[in-house]
Amino acid sequence: MSAIANGTHVVVLDPRFTKTAARAAEWLAVKPGTDLAFHLALIHELIYNDLYDKQFVANYTEGFDELKAGVKEYTPEWAAEKCEIPAETIARIAQEFAAAAPHAFAHPGWRTSNFLNSFQTERAIAILNALIGNWNQPGGFRAVAGEGAGLASLPTPPFPRVGALRLDGVPWKYPLVPLKLGVFQEIRDNALSGDPYQAHGWFIYRQNPVDSIPDRKKTLEAFAKMDFIVTTDIIPNDTAWFSDVILPEASYLERYDPLTVVDNTIYIRQPAIAPLGESKSGLWIFKQLGERLGLGDYFPYADEEDYLRQQLADLPVTLEDLKYQGYYTLPPTPEPEDLVFLTPSGKVDLSSATLEKQGFDAVPQWEEPPEPGEGQFYLLTGKVAYHTQMATQNNKYLHEMLPQNPLWINKGVAANLHIKDGDQVLVESEVGKVPFQAFTTEGIRPDCVYTTQGFGKFSKGLRLAYAEGGSDSDLHVTYTDPISGSQALSQTMVKISRIIG
């Protein structure tokens, strides 16, 4: 809001009129799945109208000629057909973006996995930013030093080599997905199919797959094949509800967590009150499990504070100082002489050899997304300001703000279907049927319906949120992006009908 107050011109691309759109200068009701076309056209305009930063492109990018050839066909007129935004608007925004450069940026978005083409959409956005050279420019992106700088690691014995294939398909099925991220829904699918081997147990920490991955019915079927499920969480969420053992973790106000570094500052998370009930910190839970499994050497700390002290071993700051101050800023390191990107070339790969080697497009190319059939709608999902992911729906005050999740339906469409505001409607996809309360509005494209995530809870441990609203996970069909492993959530098409009586 400060940037807007200072004169930043914000353009929002969304099939739905969000609160962000309400505060923006322009809202463009883009057709779902076609953001890639819009951004390709912007790239086309910058290159073919000679509006890009030639010096930055020469010094910090690779593959410009391939990019230029690759986007030749993607004119605003071409994109207008795809994304249903007028060609003049696209051309104007390209001009305005270039005029504001380098004090401008194309935002990568938040929940970005909507369609199978979303990975290349994100690349197109990164390329746009490179073309105007906004790195380390006021109003652009800031390059930061590597994560974790300054903190010591705890000494552990070497980890034994795992001989089996990872159940989530990384890297044998998803060669480009980082090992530390993984593909959650693939664990579920492979547990269900027994391929490449049958899994028997699942230890789940800070994840809630029953709510967070598509096709909840399928997730519960996979749970049924398990002999043993353990869930560690701060609330009795839906996954905990279907687990054999729940290890209650203390909330963030009650526990220590390992120290983290953001930019050049170390932040501490420390208990404001003692943990309630039987809850314990994650550090305590894992150490106890390790010791009982005869693996105590891998948890070389006496308690939480000792863990943090060891992390600080190489730094001129004590845990006591950190606890008092809340943070510690490391002495400034000399500014790096030059920008280095974490890519094979050390530059921005406008054309990616890594992708090409795996058989994907080196330069983002248009990929046609699926469209709703007769009587169908795109099912959109997205966050609301009141709730954090799927974890806060049971909070007394937040529950009061939004006790359930209505289904947004375009007013004209609703009238045609004889649906009035507040009516109960049945939403049906390939994998599920869920009732919702209708919210009829001008604020959504006629070919879409929308609801927010995290409702329709199964767990009776969530006394307020239990059975309130509907779960979009019950409706989502599983589509996994072969490059990023992300779930393409907006590719699910649904039918809606009024529930009579």
């Binding site: 609160k19 809202w27 300001a385 604020g443």
Partner: protein, 242 residues
Amino acid sequence: MATKKKYGFVIDVRRCIGCNACTVACKEQWKVPVGHSRNWVLDMGIQGSFPDLTQTFITGQCMHCDDPPCVAACPSEATYKREDGLVVIDEDTCIGCGYCIPACLYDARFYNEEKGVADKCNGCFDRVEEGELPACVATCVGGARMFGDLNDPDSQVSRMIRENQTVRLVTDETNPGPNVYYIGLPEELYSEVAPHPSELPAAGKVWKKGVIPVVGLAVGATVIGQAIAFGAQLLKGESIDE
């Protein structure tokens, strides 16, 4: 001598994102019962026709008026205006008669069933005395809520009032001197947030003249229930003379 403080709020409507963080922070700060809140975010809904749409959020609370009708209406002097301008309720003195509730021109008051008293924003006076901002201001995500000393020309609120066009929620007929200044409030929405005419024109007078002695006797005794019933009657618009 230092100038007397006069606390007030400035609300920049253009910066409100409708997240209700102010509402939740206040509820947590003051343990406000579910079903009530001391401040609010009025969501005017999505206006216009697809795709030419707007949506405005107007946040508000007690206006800490110069001439507060609630103070005049209070028979037990539980509601009073502090030296620093904040209008507060002394919960120990409040008899829960509810008389102040319709007296407020901005519907900023409610009856707190858990405590048996009238309730509303008190400007987080205790936080302010400690040099902190009210909870709603401290948490405001968009920077829409501002608070400070209107008598201090260097305060953020004074500067904002000086540098921007502001409006206060008053009409020609009704002006209790509210100390909340709005920036960027769309003119077509004035009527949505204007003060309603006082529902109890002679209220203060009647209480002060005839009823105070009676209630005075009743305060602290077993007749509080009657006083509440009395208040409830008034809420329904029945006159005392009946």
